[in-house]
Symmetry: C2
Subunit: 565 residues, 2 copies
């Protein structure tokens, strides 16, 4: 039984290993083990920094779970955000058992598995709040929490060592859009019963006070529906179903048609409608292709691209490069999302492009058009006060957020007779709970696996690779000089490669053709695109990656260096 | 008289040409001309995006001013921030006349000229608010405004075409630290007299309401002085003299010594003290070298590095790489500055390093430890209401801020009998005012000049170059694999060059030596530095640039590509 390279968990020890999300925002994943049973909580991705060239997605290193093959008996999902479910296609093959999640969460998982050609084989098990499931020695209860999308849960896991609570992502929205309240009573009951350890979201620990409910945005949007004479275009996260409901309700009230624009938002709106989480009266929704047939003042577009992502709907619309949605002087474009750190420059560029179309730009700093889905300091304290755990492990944040959450937790108990022990753990720390107490006892293999999604044709072609492979496929640098006036190509692009080997004598021809790809890509772009260095670099990178993949079967790291002359 | 390539301004036409700051934040500069007299307002730099590799500073293209050689009769500075004075060493050679500025502004200009070995030859002319100077047909009056540093002015320029007002940077601080109020009365008088055109700061047009006075931060800092048991370390902009005064006053009250840490902040504190803008009682200030001799609870450090700049004081302190300032668990580090877009990731990394030292991190979102120096929407409207110009030109912002300011200006006059004509100009637009009205009549050469400051030795060695030169010196890509565990170098670094030519046969030796430079740089760095990709990339870039400059006399664009394996 114990022939695997990794031993089973010692008898009478509960072992909790965060595999992602403790030291970064994103790729949330945690393994909970007792003897030969492991349950995995969440399986998320992280999006790379703009300077992580050639990387599309990042997932946690799966070595630890591979070492437990055959003993991973269930995967439990707290909610349907990418940073909690995005790595599922990679993690599922390591799980010998069901995937538990609420209806909305599983509905978002399904197309993801389909895209990867994975047959879940009836392993997706829908659960509801206050239900419990048994997995080996564990009993897992799901508890309703409020967040920026419907159907989110926290977990209360009864283990032989005691009860542990995992909050998932949450805020305490006391007036939720769907009427489904944060289950304060159950958290209180657990606190009364006695909780061994609490694992709680640290995302917004830096913010004072309470985050505020989702309905707070209604006032600002009401104003915008009243004052906008042309199209109203609202960019938000494609998972923000509540935001969509707010917008749809106002569209009905102000007699506008609603078009969802952008692949992921169309898909998510469809799923949410099917499950009854998004209610759109008949005759209100139109397709993006129908937008040109309506008068501007009769249309609301809800789009992707709030982060200025080069290929998403709003940034394309902003440079007048969308087939159906055009902007004019009477239109208003609302950025109804926070800026994810690292995206600020791309967002600012998108906003200026919108302004050049003559449209009005509205941001969070101007009107209250966005509210966070994560609880602020007072909400996090409230959960600590309700749950009253013996041990506390801050999760979901960079090291600083975790450290700050630890500090706040100590403040909560400072003037009480209760003792609270904080375990300030990071990814890969093996936390053991046994009769003698709890401690960080060991280190598990941990890290980040980079994923390169090169779309060569109609289906996504996804490659898992670590940094070694990334280096192994070599590097191609393309130095491209373009005219500052016209954005046109000046001279020939220069390509330099290292560690990128193709068959003898074929290199030169390949590079000549690559130069042709660059020239064509520039010629077929609008002047506005060409003179936007960020957009053009991203576009060239994509074209070159596809080209090298197709022609050489390899995936070099492609670095376009654009010089305006 | 008219033999230069550029004609003089047509008779009876006032020509205003923004050369920088209208389409970007930074490099503010504007030329105002009547016949053969040109006055330049401000001469600022812009700091590059993190992805503008190999560039340290950006200044406006000076072609337009070169075309007016001999006719540029004065340079007028509104205040001493880098985005208004940083390009002075490059602009001054094109000016045949005095540089006007307040005492503080000129004091900040002096060391800058000295560094460049420029003798101002008595051309720096100090002025005071409400004073006027005559330059050819212009009479320039200086008007007190409040901002985040002392001694800032707006300009009222009487021209043969009418009166124009340039706000510089401002907010309306009604309780200024130094008691020097925004000169509302003079703005009102000008409005009564009749203003042809207003050029006004658009930086914070997105923010609702009033920005709030500098003294608002006192409460939060009082709390921090009370609650911090160890060292208090506050990172702020080196020009934030008011912030320094607030901190010094509290240090005196709470009996802490004050150490300024970081080259630029030490220099600016010295200048401000000399001029009486920063008052530090005897015995309060200590040198950074003295910090270790005092008990932690007796020290306040005011440092540079609020933006996470790799070489600045706080980021060095955060990775335990500062000679005199160390952090421990009782210490508190305050980020008392906004994040400049693009720096968010570097700031977050610095914060996590601080948290790893065990110190508490305090940010603007947690406590009110920073307030902006730029007026919000209501303040900008107030100036529009007071000045009541005929024409309005929004300045200082990306296109979107300018467009939004234009929109707000139209709202201010919408329900009045006044007409306001907005000229939504961008860098290089030639704005003409004459008897027939005002219009954007032409385009002047405009653009950005990139500056590469390679410090080869004890003095800064600054090179002006445009993008053509940047490409002309070639590109060197260094691919470096380091161990994820130890941060140590794996294998040999690979260097690839393009367009970077050295003497026949010398290339290989040069690259071998460059690989040696990389190896040494990694070996002599701490594990914390080595595993911080951002820090290490920046450090390698600096080392390699110095190396190539010294050995080849050339300045290739250096791109280190770090791979953790």
């Amino acid at each position: 039984m114990n022939q695997s390279p990794m031993p089973v968990v010692s008898p009478a020890t509960l072992e909790v290993v965060p595999l992602g999300g403790l030291g970064e925002f994103g790729m949330n994943m945690m393994a909970v083990s007792w003897e030969d049973t492991t349950v995995v909580i969440d399986a998320g991705v992280m999006f790379p920094d703009p300077d992580q060239l050639g990387v599309d997605l990042i997932i946690p290193d799966l070595t630890y779970l591979e070492g437990r093959r055959g003993r991973v008996k269930a995967l439990v999902l707290t909610h349907g955000h990418e940073d909690h479910i995005g790595a599922l296609p990679h993690v599922l093959p390591l799980v010998d058992g069901p995937v538990y999640g609420t209806a909305m969460t599983l509905a978002l998982v399904e197309p993801k598995l389909e895209e990867h050609g994975i047959d879940a084989n009836g392993r997706l098990e829908p659960i509801k709040p206050r239900e419990t499931v048994a997995v080996g020695p564990f009993t897992i209860e799901f508890i309703r929490v409020t967040h920026s999308m419907p159907d989110c849960v926290a977990l209360a896991i009864t283990t032989p060592a005691g009860l542990i609570v995992h909050t998932g992502d949450f805020k305490i929205d006391q007036t939720p859009i769907d009427g489904e309240h944060f289950d304060l009573h159950r958290f209180a009951e657990l606190g009364t019963r006695g909780v061994l350890a609490l694992f709680a979201d640290s995302t917004n620990i830096d913010r004072r006070g309470f985050t505020g409910p989702e309905i707070e945005v209604i006032d600002a949007f009401e104003e915008l529906f009243t004052s906008t004479h042309g199209k109203l275009v609202v960019a938000t996260f494609s998972s923000s179903i509540y935001r969509m409901q707010v917008l749809v309700d106002l569209a009905v009230q102000f007699e506008r048609k609603v078009a969802f624009v952008g692949r992921s938002i169309v898909q998510n709106a469809e799923i949410a409608q099917r499950l009854g989480y998004l209610r759109i009266p008949a005759g209100v929704q139109i397709r993006d292709a129908d937008v040109p047939s309506y008068a501007s003042q009769d249309v609301l577009c809800v789009t992707t691209g709030s982060q200025g992502e080069a290929q998403a709907a709003l940034p394309r619309i902003a440079i007048d490069d969308h087939r159906f949605v055009k902007l004019g002087p009477d239109d208003t474009v609302v950025f109804s999302a926070r800026a994810i750190p690292g995206n600020e420059k791309a967002i600012a560029r998108t906003m200026s492009h919108v302004a050049r179309r003559g449209a009005d730009v509205v941001t969070e700093s101007m009107k209250h058009v966005h509210v966070s889905g994560h609880g602020s300091a007072e909400e996090l304290k409230l959960v600590l006060s309700l749950v009253r755990p013996k041990y506390f492990v801050p999760i979901h944040g960079e090291y600083r957020q975790l450290a700050q959450h630890a500090r706040v937790a100590r403040e909560v108990t400072a003037r009480t007779s209760r003792t609270l022990q904080v375990l300030l753990a990071q990814d890969g720390d093996v936390i053991q709970f046994d009769q003698r107490g709890a401690r960080i006892a060991d280190r598990a293999p941990t890290g980040r696996v980079l994923i390169d999604v090169t779309r060569t044709g109609e289906v996504g072609d996804e490659v898992l690779r670590d940094r070694r492979h990334l280096a192994g496929d070599g590097v191609v640098v393309a130095v491209v000089a373009i005219s500052r006036q016209t954005g046109g190509l000046i001279g020939d692009p220069e390509l330099v490669a290292r560690g990128f080997v193709v068959g003898e004598g074929r290199g030169e021809a390949l590079f000549d053709d690559a130069a042709g790809v660059i020239a064509e890509c520039i010629e077929t772009s609008s002047v506005e695109e060409r003179t936007d260095q960020g957009l053009m670099t991203e576009k060239l990178r994509g074209e070159l990656r596809r080209f090298f993949k197709k022609r050489s079967g390899r995936r070099p790291l492609v670095l376009p260096v654009l010089m305006e002359i």
